[in-house]
């Protein structure tokens, strides 16, 4: 069964029009699945060892593999995302190749307790701001951020758990931009049963174009210091 899902996701990846995962990325993802399938541990640390190849020993991420850093993502948010991958709420869109990888991996986690323990393990990583990789008009980005995004993600992009809006400051800028692009195109969040994803899917239509989205992300990056 798990294998079938894996194969299916790989097949989906193959026909994806999105930036396709590299061979390295595919290899790492499939190794993670195998590792988790063979693991019987309930320890967060041991479970996380399957994640290291992409997300790094200290959760620092790896842009080359399109794996975002995890250290600035809040535990409640990581948990919701892992559960979302497991249930198929996230990573099921045919154009979401990397999401499909993560879905396969998350589904291989033995149970929800395992999700929580790996998240708890990640929570102990030392927070480190992801380096800036984009350039843009931060002033223009600030205006849009303040008008549209800050209402939920907070004045310092620190997130707001009451609204289930994750922190954005300190998260890789390239990843934020990629995810915003996915939201705006319906690659992520367009499934109505994904309550919070759908909220961002709706908000994804509120920035006028990709340039502005980049400016907003540049501004968010500037908030992380």
């Amino acid at each position: 069964m798990k294998l079938a899902i894996l194969l299916m996701s790989l097949a989906l990846v193959a026909c994806s029009s999105d930036q396709a995962p590299s061979a390295n990325s595919e290899q790492a993802a499939s190794a993670a699945v195998t590792a988790l399938q063979n693991s019987s541990s309930a320890s967060g640390k041991e479970l996380y060892s399957a994640c290291v190849a992409c997300h790094g020993v200290n959760g620092e991420g790896n842009k080359a593999l399109s794996a975002p850093s995890l250290t600035n993502q809040q535990s409640w948010y990581l948990e919701r995302q892992l559960l979302g991958f497991r249930s198929g709420l996230r990573g099921s869109h045919p154009d979401d190749a990397f999401g499909a990888q993560m879905q396969a991996i998350a589904k291989t986690l033995p149970n929800e307790a395992a999700v929580r323990s790996v998240v708890a393990y990640i929570a102990d990583f030392k927070a480190k701001v992801a380096p800036a990789s984009l350039e843009g008009n931060a002033k223009r980005g600030a205006d849009y951020y303040s008008n549209l995004c800050g209402a939920c993600h907070g004045p310092a992009a620190e997130g707001n758990e009451k609204l289930q809006a994750p922190a954005l400051a300190g998260v890789d800028d390239w990843y934020l931009l990629q995810q915003f692009d996915h939201f705006s195109k319906g690659i992520r969040g367009s499934d109505e049963s994904d309550r919070y994803g759908y909220q961002m899917y709706m908000m994804g239509k509120t920035l006028p174009d990709a340039d502005v989205a980049k400016d907003v992300v540049v501004y968010i990056q500037s908030l992380a210091d």
């Binding site: 303040s146 008008n147 549209l148 800050g150 209402a151 939920c152 907070g154 004045p155 707001n160 009451k162 609204l163 759908y198 909220q199 961002m200 709706m202 908000m203 509120t206």
Partner: protein, 464 residues
């Protein structure tokens, strides 16, 4: 932002003007309450009041409601104030009609309007009712006709601070003032019978009111006869200072045309034209222009006026060796100036009109009505658009569609509460602080849960 609202109102207006779709008759029988019927009524409805005695005060804060008495074989519906109720009928709605009622013994007014436009008040009998009989105030575009009023201690018909009103075919008698046009523009007073009041018709400015002018008034074809009743106005009221025995008073008003009236038997004077010095004991108002300007006196039938003038007039007349009052009296000052005009002045006994010029205009036959063709624009608030109004008026004060104001943008609220109007309705009933950098929202708990939900549903559908 504004145009869509106007457009919406226009559409509603069109719908409302199709009575067959909307109008219902709501009968009220003796022993029942007119107010209950009004509360049930929707715009376009007619409340039919059957013969009987109704001891209540009725208020109408909705648009396009008609109160219509049903008179059966001479039996009228009677609103009875018993000397203890304040006003019989108080309306604020636009497009209001009241007709075929007998109203008596109220402390205040029989029919009082506050800012309702397009009012119609007709076929009513008002007897011995407090301060004013019919008193529309702040209204635009109205018709007052075929009413009979008597025994009023101030004005029987008092058009106060209005625009575009026709007053015609009314009978007013045994009142202190018959018909008053006060701080009002564009009024046609025609074919009325004003007799046995202290004064018959009065067109004037009262200083100290927020609307400062009276102009463009035609007094035409009225019978103004024997207005010699001793003044029984309440002490302190302005009208209590009006000398008895005057047919028509024009005070401080501008562009008043007097034509075709029969003015006779008024013991002080037929017509008095004066500036604001006529009333004393009132604090001055620098914003009220005190002089009567550009008055036009066309042909009128005047005789037998001034038989026994009040002392002040007698004193004036003695200066030209007469012991009786005149048909026309312009008091010393600006009333005597040449910007006023008259034709055929030799026909009348007069005082103070020597300098008046000869009128160029000879007739007002071109003026049929001073009402506004098609009516004044009215903005009805109905159950169907009040949600929109509340959203625009209250919510939008803090929530813009796509930008941060005091509250988060409507777009974000729509995303957060998609398909969950109830969630918004619950939250705004008892808001709590969610965002560190936004102030807590003020509670809207005074709105009913249903209304909160209606507004929430509206908010979720807003597209700009």
């Amino acid at each position: 932002m504004k145009n869509p609202i106007r457009l919406g109102l226009l559409c509603l207006g069109l719908l409302c003007s199709m009575p067959s779709l909307w109008a219902a008759d709501i009968p009220v029988k003796d022993g029942e309450s007119i107010q209950d019927a009004v509360n049930k009524a929707s715009p376009g409805d007619v409340v039919l009041i059957y013969p009987g005695t109704y001891k209540e005060s009725v208020y109408i804060d909705k648009d396009n409601i008609t109160l219509r008495g049903v008179v059966e074989e001479g039996k009228w519906p009677v609103l009875e104030g018993e000397g203890k109720r304040n006003d019989a009928i108080l309306y604020s709605g636009n497009d209001f009609t009241v007709e075929w009622l007998t109203i008596t013994h109220y402390k205040g007014n029989a029919i009082m309007g506050q800012s309702g436009n397009n009012f119609t008040i007709r076929y009513n009998k008002v007897i011995d009712t407090g301060v004013y009989g019919i008193f529309p105030q702040f209204g635009k575009n109205g018709l007052i006709e075929y009413n009979v009023l008597s025994g009023i201690e101030d004005a029987a018909i008092y058009v106060g601070m209005c625009d575009n009103v026709d007053v015609r075919h009314n009978e007013v008698f045994d009142n202190v003032a018959g018909i008053e046009i006060e701080n009002t523009r564009h009024a046609l007073v025609e074919n009325n019978y004003a007799h046995d009041n202290t004064a018959g018709l009065l067109v004037f400015i009262t200083p100290g009111l927020p609307i400062k002018t009276t102009f463009d008034v035609i007094l035409r074809n009225n019978f103004v006869v024997n207005n010699n009743t001793p003044n029984f106005g309440a002490p302190g009221s302005i009208v209590s200072k009006v000398p008895q025995g005057i047919g028509i008073v024009v005070m401080a008003a501008d562009d008043v045309i007097v034509e075709g009236n029969i003015v006779s038997g008024n013991k002080t004077a037929g017509i008095v034209i004066t500036d604001l010095a006529f009333i004393t004991d009132i604090s001055s108002d620098p914003e009220s222009e005190p002089n009567p300007d550009r008055l036009v006196f066309l042909d009128n039938l005047m005789f037998d006026n001034g038989a026994d003038p009040v002392a002040e007039v007698k004193a004036l007349m003695l200066t030209q060796f007469s012991r009786t009052g005149p048909d026309i009296l312009a008091t010393p000052g600006s009333a005597q100036e040449q910007d006023n005009c008259i034709i055929n002045r030799e026909r009348y006994t007069s005082f103070g009109v020597k300098k008046w010029s000869e009128c160029e205009r000879k007739s007002t036959a071109d003026v049929l009505s001073y009402r506004i063709p098609g009516g004044a624009p009215s903005e009805p608030v109905t159950a169907t658009n009040r949600t929109k109004l509340l959203y625009q008026g209250i919510c939008a004060g803090c929530h813009a569609y796509n930008m941060r104001m005091i509250g988060p943008p409507t777009l974000a609220v729509q995303a957060l509460y998609r398909n969950d109007a109830q969630g918004i309705a619950d939250y705004i009933g008892e808001p709590h602080k969610v965002r560190p950098d936004y102030p807590a929202m003020p509670s809207q708990g005074h709105l009913s849960p249903e209304l909160r939900k209606e507004v929430a549903e509206y908010m979720l559908k807003v597209t700009k």
